[in-house]
């Protein structure tokens, strides 16, 4: 009974790789890359790569956070607008009230954490679906962003961060570039990799990671074995808020100005990236790496169509077709993987 089991077929490295949830996404990413790289020289040039990695990086940071939340069985629709809110707070505080960029960022972080905490608290206390709760936050933040910005500045955009104290260091850290093979890449790409690695580690190798899978998979059962489900969920909402703060700061530092509707509509894109990367909408399954690759697929398709110079009117059509094909490739590979496994 303790020797190799006759009821198990090959368990080599190949199989181990094939059953990872990211596998499909990786294949989807390769397919999308091959498609565009084959047709556009700029796309595969190093400048091109730097180009499409740039939007993928901020999207990726958010997608990873949203993926954790989705694995934990919840949604956050307010995350996109929150990136705008944190950016607005930062720029307004440092341009209108003379705070240094660092202090302004700290205040924005506190606000973001508060929003995340409230989202989480309302969800676990009222047991309302997080879709509805964060929809409420989403709308309210949108109103606050516009109302406060208009009230304080009279317009719907604030700018001038460049002149604020501490701008240069903050920019270098969050929104600068680094050179690789003679081309400038955005620092945000490093942050993205870091966030992905950290999230993967938490998910796969720590106790909270185990709890995240559990509360998403079956909250009642998880509670029954003593998982602190409420704390886990609130922490997840706060993590998402921190990611939103990070992305909001990166964007604000880079563009030195923020519009009151910044980030609007992005909440959706984060969820898309996470789902392309293999997260289940119902919770309990997914991976951080998958979400990152989902963001990459989305970023490549989004920019690749522009590189090919296809008519902007049809842009959405191609984007839709591309995403559908990528997820189909993804699914086919996973099926094939399950078949060859025995």
């Amino acid at each position: 009974m303790t020797v190799a089991d006759e009821r198990l077929a090959g368990t080599g490295l190949a199989r181990r790789l094939l059953i990872r949830p990211e596998l499909g996404a990786v294949v989807g990413a390769i397919a999308v890359f091959a498609f565009f790289a084959g047709q556009s020289e700029t796309f595969r040039s190093i400048e091109g790569v730097a180009n499409w990695l740039d939007p993928a990086s901020t999207l990726g940071i958010m997608a990873v956070a949203i993926a954790l939340l989705m694995i934990g069985g919840e949604f956050d629709l307010s995350a996109g607008v929150l990136t705008g809110s944190t950016g607005l707070i930062m720029v307004i505080l440092s341009t209108r009230y003379g705070l240094s960029v660092w202090t302004a960022m700290l205040v924005a972080l506190v606000v973001a954490l508060l929003v995340g905490f409230l989202n989480g608290l309302i969800v676990v206390r009222t047991k309302l679906p997080s879709f509805i709760v964060t929809l409420g936050t989403f709308l309210m933040l949108q109103g606050i962003n516009l109302g406060v910005t208009k009230a304080l500045t009279g317009t719907v955009q604030v700018s001038g961060l460049r002149r604020a104290e501490g701008y240069d260091q903050a920019r270098a850290l969050l929104a600068g570039t680094f050179s690789l093979g003679g081309t400038d890449f955005r620092v945000a790409i490093l942050w993205w990799l870091g966030v992905t690695a950290l999230a993967t580690w938490v998910l796969m190798r720590t106790r909270p990671g185990n709890w995240i899978f559990a509360v998403g998979g079956d909250e009642r059962a998880a509670r029954a074995v003593g998982v602190p489900a409420d704390r886990t969920k609130i922490a997840l909402f706060m993590t998402t808020a921190v990611a939103a703060w990070l992305v909001g700061s990166i964007l604000a530092l880079r563009f030195t100005s923020v519009q009151a509707n910044a980030g609007l509509g992005q909440e959706f894109v984060y969820i898309i990236a996470a789902v392309i990367g293999g997260c289940l909408l119902t919770g309990g399954y997914g991976s951080a790496v998958g979400a990152s690759i989902g963001a990459l697929i989305f970023g490549m398709a989004d920019k690749g169509i522009v590189f090919l110079g296809w008519d902007a009117d049809w842009f959405k059509f191609f984007l839709g077709a591309m995403l559908l094909l990528a997820t189909l490739a993804n699914r086919l590979v996973r099926r094939y993987a399950e078949e060859v496994r025995h």
Binding site: M1, T2, D5, R7, L8, T11, W201, R205, T206, R207, G209, N210, W211, F213, A214, G217, D218, R220, A221, A222, R223, A224, V225, G226, V227, P228, L280, G284, Y285
Partner: protein, 282 residues
């Protein structure tokens, strides 16, 4: 055959404070009264069997004991002091481990993750504290093997296990983590004869180690030999708590089976059998 009330059935643990005690506990779900005024005690080194028909309220009682539901009425005492468990975590922290009938496992999670869920072994300090995966897998494999369950692959999601395999994992977990009280809600129902035997042996071992065990089963052959006290529930209400001395195997069996009716039934079934075998249908 008389109800013993609070009198202990066994000598050595007799006059100690019971580990768990409910006094006139009741529980209602919406319009459904699932449990009314049930009193019971769980003592160290004893096995308390809860018996009753389907829907009698056994699982509901269990869930009160393990902190899933607070009782709607009555008091629940742990070590003689009123307990206000707000979650199963609180109960676990007091050393009360439970195998639930319907809240077993997270289907999408692997066997080893499920096993240690909520009580993960750690490695390292501070922010580098992490789940000791290697140890977890090793422990799970050992525990399951010693129960006679051989799971091929502890990485397999629990959702793909057979009914009995899933049950075995849940029992192994409770046994592993049960520090003072072990509560088992129909643990043997999905198990093969061999595996059921192993579980009964575990219960006996736990009892001998001084744990209080609450055991629910529909099988009198499982209940009688191992039980020290028997709590009978009927339609949500207690029919009394009996010490082993106060009840015979026959009485227990017929209480569980609803009496003579069964003999008649066995008759009907076994058309190829000599009419001598009726009592076997239990």
């Amino acid at each position: 055959m008389t109800a013993t009330g609070g009198a202990p059935a066994r000598g050595e643990a007799g006059f100690a404070v019971p580990l768990l005690e409910t006094r006139e506990c009741g529980k209602t779900f919406g319009g459904v009264i699932a449990l009314r005024e049930v009193s019971m005690q769980v003592r160290a080194g004893e096995v308390t069997c809860v018996l009753g028909d389907n829907g009698a309220g056994k699982s509901t009682l269990i869930k009160i004991l393990s902190g899933v539901h607070p009782p709607d009425s009555g008091v629940y005492l742990v070590d003689g002091a009123p307990a206000a468990f707000t979650s199963p975590r609180d109960a676990l922290d007091r050393g009360i481990a439970t195998v639930y009938q319907d809240l077993a496992m997270i289907p999408l999670m692997s066997v080893w993750r499920n096993f240690f869920l909520g009580s993960e072994p750690s490695l390292g300090w501070g922010p580098l504290r992490r789940f000791d995966v290697a140890r977890a897998k090793r422990t799970v494999r050992q525990e399951l093997r010693s129960m006679g369950i051989d799971i091929r692959d502890v990485d397999q999601p629990v959702g793909t296990l057979s009914g009995g395999e899933r049950q075995s994992v849940a029992i192994a977990r409770a046994v592993h983590f049960g520090a003072r009280v072990l509560i088992l809600d129909e643990p043997t129902s999905a198990l093969g004869v061999k595996q059921a035997g192993v579980v009964l042996r575990y219960i006996a071992q736990a009892r001998d180690r001084g744990l209080g065990v609450v055991f629910i089963t529909h099988n009198p052959h499982h209940a009688y030999p191992i039980g020290d006290r028997f709590l009978l529930l009927n339609r949500g209400a207690s029919m009394g708590e009996y010490g082993k001395a106060d009840i015979t195997r026959q009485e227990l069996t017929s209480l569980m089976a609803g009496g003579a009716e069964l003999e008649q039934l066995a008759h009907e079934l076994s058309r190829d059998e000599p009419p001598g075998g009726p009592k076997e249908i239990r």
